[in-house]
């Protein structure tokens, strides 16, 4: 660890090479100047800056509450432990804006109590992870994309909004080792039913009908093989034969292409089948040139949950420990499904806003069962919570490890401390909780 990256000048803290804990890119070139009343950022995007401003926000949750009443830290932990040990089928949700280390402890509690465990990865790129299991992924790092890629296909994603520095840092506008001319040496294709801000910059915008990704991916594979397209292709997909053939030509002509898939593939009808055929298209592209496929993952450590759970029990998400060993079944043990069916009787949610991000039918069940949240700001999740344990900002107030969207682990250093002294990190909070849980419910 390079300690000289954090400098203290009186009450002002200056830190360089800060890792941003917002989107899946985990940008590690941010610079922060922190005074007792303000935060100034460099290199952070609009979303990253907003997150860093949380360090000095007036709404930060700084003391624990139970049913809205301020309580001591010990009382809150005991209340949380009571809820968990009394539950027959507790559900543990590991949010993504926290470290692998914290997730590992959360999974340990789930295993100890025989609960369900799931994470943001499921409601985000869960179907894409299932497609990796099904078809296999030809992948690379973001650095390789930066230095080699001369064709970017953004399929069902809009990085101009969701990953504001994506195109300027990794995929389009910067100069790379083999792409010295920057954007002049690259081509961009956007496949999106909307004329999104990303599509407005594209060399080719393929405006398909919503939900016709599978059919269009199939048609591109046919065009790549040089076969005749089905005469109904345009009627079904909304994309002309000429456009599909042009896209196939651009694929064959490039030296190194990248398909960036977004939730336009994973969240629409077909889900993992769409992602599977996108991966098979990538494999086919490698018959003609070099091609990879990467998921534009939305949260900073959303990939980390898949990794931590995989190295813990062998499965990437949607795991049930109720029989004492891990069982994996998306659609049954996954968050939205388990909540919608109303089969869990307690929820622990770490660093995620389930109240705001899940469909109404799933959130309704959280109103009926006790909910424990590690949360930093008032909002929908605090609204549905019974016990609130103030969260710590990983990568700012405590160190940790994040997995970037290309599955590269990034170490995030801290440059300040939490505004309270009862916990040092979310990992520490969960370790304290696990200790009390073990005291209240010793293993037989």
């Amino acid at each position: 660890m390079k300690t000289d990256l954090v400098k203290k000048e009186g009450e002002v803290i200056k830190c360089t090479d800060v890792t941003c804990p917002v989107c899946g890119m985990s940008c590690d070139d941010c610079e922060i100047e922190l005074t007792p009343t303000s935060v100034t950022t460099k290199n952070a995007c609009l979303m990253g800056d907003a997150k860093f401003q949380e360090l000095r926000s007036p709404h930060r949750l700084v003391y624990p509450t139970v049913n809205g009443e301020r309580v001591s830290w010990e009382e809150a932990l005991n209340a949380a432990a009571d809820i968990l040990v009394k539950a027959k089928r507790p559900f543990f949700f590991m949010g993504s804006e926290t470290s692998n280390e914290a997730m590992a402890v959360g999974i340990e509690i789930a295993e100890y109590l025989g609960g369900l465990v799931d994470g943001n990865a499921t409601i985000c790129h869960g179907p894409t992870v299932m497609a990796i299991q099904d078809a296999g992924q030809v992948a690379c790092t973001l650095g390789e994309c930066r230095n080699r890629s001369d064709l970017a296909i953004y399929w069902g994603c809009n990085p101009a909004d969701s990953h504001p520095r994506h195109m300027s840092r990794h995929s389009m506008y910067m100069r790379g080792f083999f792409t010295e001319q920057g954007y002049q040496s690259r081509k961009m294709v956007v496949v999106d039913p909307r004329r999104s801000p990303t599509a407005a910059q594209a060399d080719l915008h393929v405006q398909l009908k919503p939900g016709k990704d599978y059919e269009l991916l199939d048609a591109v594979m046919v065009a790549l093989r040089g076969k005749e397209l089905n005469p109904d292709t345009e009627k079904v997909t909304g994309v002309s034969e000429e456009t599909i053939k042009k896209m196939a030509e651009m694929i064959k002509e490039c030296k190194f292409g990248v398909i960036w898939v977004g939730l336009g593939i994973a969240s629409t009808r077909g889900k993992h089948y769409n992602a599977s055929i996108a991966m098979r298209l990538t494999q086919l592209c490698n018959d003609y040139t070099k091609f990879v496929i990467l998921a534009n993952r939305g949260h900073c450590n959303v990939a980390g949950f898949n990794h931590v759970l995989s190295w813990t029990c062998g499965f990437p998400f949607a795991v049930d420990y109720s029989r004492g060993y891990a069982r994996y079944q998306p659609g049954e043990y996954s968050c939205v499904d388990a909540l919608t069916r109303g089969e869990v009787d307690a929820v622990l949610c770490m660093c995620a806003d389930l109240g705001g991000h899940l469909p109404k039918k799933a959130v309704e069940h959280m109103m009926d069962v006790p909910v424990i949240s590690l949360e930093i700001a008032p909002g929908p999740q605090a609204f549905v919570s019974d016990v609130i344990l103030p969260g710590v900002l990983d990568g700012m107030e405590c160190e940790g490890t994040f997995y970037r969207m290309d599955n590269v682990p990034i170490y995030a250093r801290s440059f300040t401390t939490p505004p309270f002294d009862f916990t040092k990190s979310n990992e520490d909070t969960l370790k304290q909780l696990l200790k009390i849980v073990k005291e209240k419910k010793p293993r037989k």
């Binding site: 609009l46 985000c124 659609g331």
Partner: protein, 150 residues
Amino acid sequence: MMDIILNTGSTVYQGAIIKGGNKFTEGYVREAAYCNINPEDFEALGRPWYVRVTNEYGDSVVVKAKKTGTQQKGEVFIPRGIWANTVVTPETESTGSPRYKNLPVKIEKCEGPVLGPEALMRANFTKNGKGQEYEAKKYLDKTTSQVSHS
């Protein structure tokens, strides 16, 4: 009432609001409680200021209507947030991921109003008395919010 396809997704401004922890502010309403509509559909709906979007369960939400050429005819876009998620359905096709995109819904012109985030949460979720309990929570009251660290 018109049948239409709903897509939800993030925008950078909506992202900045939620990442900054400002979900219970007017800014969240401004950046997440609107619906982008193709000009032809906008005319067919009677040039609305507000629209009500209803899903197959009968859950509905009122959002501001925006006429925009970025949408295709027959599909609308609402930014990711509690307004969109009121009508997003929980079917996951056995994947765990709900139908955030390509969701058939009904849309109609209405007179509003658009509920703010706290009012919408209370309207959607009041079972078990938690909605009422929340009224008493001190951090909701902006004048007595949890102590900022100075």
